[in-house]
């Protein structure tokens, strides 16, 4: 609870500020949209949080989003696959991607940054080749399939809880249980703090690191699937661009340290919500222009990290 206090207060402050300054912020449509965006991006952030907790990084998330987001409609519309088998193959590909990253990082001892930077380029390039750089989507078909990304559980006639957000909550609960209630979660934190000590304590650290990259890639694929179901149009050249950075930023806002060994799922979800809230605020508040998005997100992130570090150092001194 202590760890997420800061980010929770930030969330509430920005929420209140936007409610006062922006028009239509509290409307049912806008609130639903916020939850939907948080749901979509939150899946990526939870995924990358696993990797960050081990002290690694995954820069290929946006490209995995692109690969799945373009690949699934391509298989369904151009190749005539059923949606079910297209999703299944997308998940298998994501599993292989994660295993591959984990293998390179643990067995060949390559740096995660380099491995996933190469992947960022390769998967996007491959997708563009596969889709011949053509925009992919479902057109007007497969309404039932697309509902997973577009529908909501109705609460009032104007406001509903979008499916992507429901899916995020389910994933978050599973992730929370995994990290806090299983021995594997404990192992992840242990090896993120001190891999050598963890290994000498009999933990198969390589296996745990590989697992974290698999989780990250599979959640990126799930996110990519929901993004395309929701948006129905993916341009291979820019679909999912920079999403890894949004995910990493949300994880860091939520209390993950890139040094590894630290982070909470609740914090990461709130961090994602803060990021989406900021975007929303920029759209709704008149005197904030949309080109200021990066500027504002960057400043908020920096302030959050500085505040966090200062609090930590003060705590250390007190002890």
């Amino acid at each position: 609870m202590k760890k997420i206090k800061g980010i929770l207060i930030t969330l509430i402050m920005i929420y209140v500020a936007t409610a006062i300054l922006g028009e239509n912020f509290l409307g049912g449509y806008n609130q639903g949209k916020l939850l939907e965006r948080t749901g979509l991006y939150g899946l990526l952030a939870i995924g990358v949080a696993f990797v960050i907790i081990t002290g690694g990084i995954d820069l290929s998330i946006g490209s995995v989003v692109c690969l799945v987001g373009c690949g699934v409609p391509w298989l369904v519309m151009r190749q005539g696959w059923s949606p079910g088998s297209a999703v299944a193959i997308a998940m298998v590909v994501a599993l292989c991607v994660g295993l591959w990253h984990g293998f390179l990082i643990t067995k060949l001892k390559l740096q995660p940054f380099v491995v996933t930077l190469c992947s960022l380029l390769i998967y996007r390039g491959a997708t563009r080749g596969l889709a011949e750089d053509q925009s992919q989507g479902f057109g007007g078909e497969h309404e039932a399939f697309r509902q997973w990304g577009t529908e909501a559980i109705e609460v009032t006639d104007k406001f509903g809880i979008p499916y992507p957000f429901v899916i995020l909550i389910v994933v978050a609960i599973i992730a929370w249980v995994f990290l806090n209630k299983t021995i594997w979660g404990r192992y992840l934190f242990a090896l993120g703090n001190n891999e050598e000590a963890a290994r000498l304590s009999g933990i198969n650290t390589d296996r745990m690191v590989i697992l974290s990259y698999v989780i990250c890639s599979m959640l990126a694929a799930l996110g990519g699937l929901l993004f395309i179901l929701n948006g129905n149009s993916a341009q291979p050249s820019d679909f999912g661009n920079f999403y890894e950075l949004y995910a990493i930023a949300a994880a860091v806002l939520g209390g993950c340290s890139l040094r590894g060994g630290e982070g909470t799922i609740v914090g990461v979800v709130i961090g994602t919500a803060v990021m989406q809230l900021l975007k929303n605020m920029i759209n709704l508040v008149d005197w904030l222009k949309s080109h200021m998005e990066f500027l504002i997100v960057g400043i908020v992130l920096l302030v959050a990290v500085i505040a966090d570090e200062m609090i930590k150092q003060r705590v250390r001194k007190l002890k």
Binding site: K181, T182, I183, W184, R186, Y187, F189, A190, N193, N194, E196, A197, A198, R199, L200, S201, G202, I203, N204, G261, E262, R316, K319
Partner: protein, 501 residues
């Protein structure tokens, strides 16, 4: 003797969980070799770091030539004429000797380095330490002993009046050490003072004009040249007679539990290691730094891949491949680097203690928190770990308590063989004694204990039998009745094996 060049008055230094120095005094006169001795954790290194400007003191004063000074960095200390030579040399192997001597304070203007000046000055200081190499030689081409001399030359080039040497001989051969002693005497005759920190009491006796003893962060006494003798030094360091400090009792040995056959480590590929340890036996492994002792333990435990050989625990086993496999066989390793390898500093005491036994105690993949609490409570009282609570981060505990947490982690698994690498490094004397009592208790209960130590006293006090290593080989084995500092040192420096036996 005149006025002291350097004077330390009532210096106190605290770290989280431990008082490293409390109200310590020290005087250093010009032209003297002052030996500073004390057990690990006595505060020697803390004081030296304060003198060299590496860290500030919390309380107390430093006087240089009678004037109070305050160092905010290493360069301040250098300007006052104090230089520290770390135990692990701070040199860049890929640079030349001259570049190392001037590293970080290259003379010149606008980023251009004055090579001529560097060369002249390097030659001058190299001559002072009697090192006959070209300043253009790459450092990596020199032996450790010569690199040590380069460090001293570097100190001299800053016009140091006091050179602090922290365990300078820990990785030198006998010949190199003797050469170093000549240089030290030579420097003293030229007006430089040397503060010499060492565990090797023989060296101290040979070298020192005066010996100052620290114990538990306080002054424990001072010996003038004519008073320096081995027993007096030990008494002051330990605070009582040695025989009371190491309490070993006679007990019968059991079957062979650990049997190492033809073990070869990555670092010493050609050397096969063979030995056995019985149940209830405490076996010490002595040797100089770099003799391959830690590497042997790491290979034995599977922490670093072994090239070949078998490690059998109670008759079962094979080539050690991973720590996980080894602990399944009943081995446990308390590594040398407590903070880097033993503990997870930013996790709770509880989480550290249960880390190795989580799998055994889990319910399927889920943590069994009841069992974990129970284990932690048992271990905390069995090893009398002092912590405000099991939630406390390991980082905030004292060295001794941290070491107990590492021990607890392994004892939870009830190992048959306990491997300890420098088990009492950097912990205070009280905790040290507790660790010794625990080692004795484990042995009495039938565990086989194998420990590596660089402290002669510890080896001679605790071991039933000692293996001595030199350059990756076991050069000899001594039974308790044959223990002597001379015999161990002889084997540790590659001396004649037959003679020692």
């Amino acid at each position: 003797m005149g006025e002291p060049f350097l004077e330390v008055q009532k210096i106190t230094k605290r770290f989280p969980g431990v008082v490293a120095l409390s109200g310590v005094d020290l005087k250093v006169y010009p032209s003297e070799v002052l030996a500073l001795i004390g057990e690990n954790g006595a505060g020697k290194s803390s004081l030296m770091k304060i003198l060299a400007g590496v860290q500030p003191a919390d309380e107390g004063e430093l006087l240089v030539e009678g004037k109070a000074v305050r160092f905010s960095g290493v360069q301040d200390a250098q300007k006052s004429g104090i230089a520290l030579i770390h135990q692990e040399l701070n040199l860049a192997e890929n640079l030349t000797v001259a570049a190392n001597i001037f590293l970080g304070r290259e003379p010149g203007k606008f980023g251009w380095i004055d090579q001529g000046l560097i060369e002249r000055e390097s030659k001058r200081v190299l001559e002072m330490v009697g090192l006959e190499v070209s300043p253009e030689t790459l450092l990596s081409e020199l032996t450790l002993g010569k690199q040590q001399l380069v460090e001293i030359a570097k100190a001299l080039s800053t016009d140091a009046k006091v050179i602090i040497m922290d365990e300078p001989t820990s990785s030198l051969s006998l010949r190199e050490s003797e050469r170093l002693f000549e240089v030290i005497h030579d420097l003293r005759d030229k007006g430089v003072s040397v503060i010499y920190i060492s565990h090797r009491l023989g060296e101290v006796k040979e070298l020192a004009d005066r010996v100052v003893v620290f114990r538990d962060g306080e002054n424990a006494g001072m010996l003038e040249r004519n008073e320096v003798d081995h027993d007096a030094m030990v008494r002051m360091m330990v605070g009582r007679e040695v025989s009371q400090f190491y309490q070993r009792t006679e007990h019968d040995l059991g079957e062979v539990v650990l049997s190492v056959r033809g073990l070869r480590s990555m670092e010493h590929r050609e050397n096969e290691l063979n030995f056995e340890v019985r149940a209830g036996e405490v076996v010490g492994v002595a040797g100089l730094v770099g003799a391959g002792r830690s590497e042997m333990l790491a290979a034995l435990f599977g922490a670093r891949p072994a090239l070949g050989g078998d490690v059998l625990v109670a008759g079962k086993g094979g080539l050690p491949r991973s720590p996980r496999e080894s602990l399944g066989r009943g081995l446990a390793l308390v590594p040398e680097d407590r903070k880097g390898q033993g503990l997870i500093l930013d996790m709770a005491v509880k989480e550290n203690m249960s880390l190795a036994s989580l799998r055994r105690d889990s319910k399927g993949p889920f943590l069994n928190t009841d069992k974990e609490e129970e284990l932690v409570a048992d271990m905390t009282s069995a090893l009398s770990v002092k912590t405000p609570g099991s939630w406390q981060l390991a980082r905030f505990l004292s060295g001794g308590n941290q070491q107990k947490i590492v021990l607890a982690k392994w004892l939870a698994l009830k190992p048959k063989v306990l491997l300890l690498d420098e088990p009492t490094r950097g912990i205070d004397i009280g905790a040290k004694e507790e660790i010794y009592l625990l080692m004795e208790k484990f042995a009495r209960e039938g565990m086989a204990v194998l420990f590596v130590s660089s402290e002669m006293e510890e080896i001679m006090g605790m071991a039933d039998r000692t293996l001595v290593m030199h350059e990756g080989r076991i050069t000899g084995e001594l039974a308790r009745e044959n223990f002597s500092e001379e015999a161990i040192m002889e084997l540790a420096t590659g001396g004649n094996i037959n003679k020692a036996e």
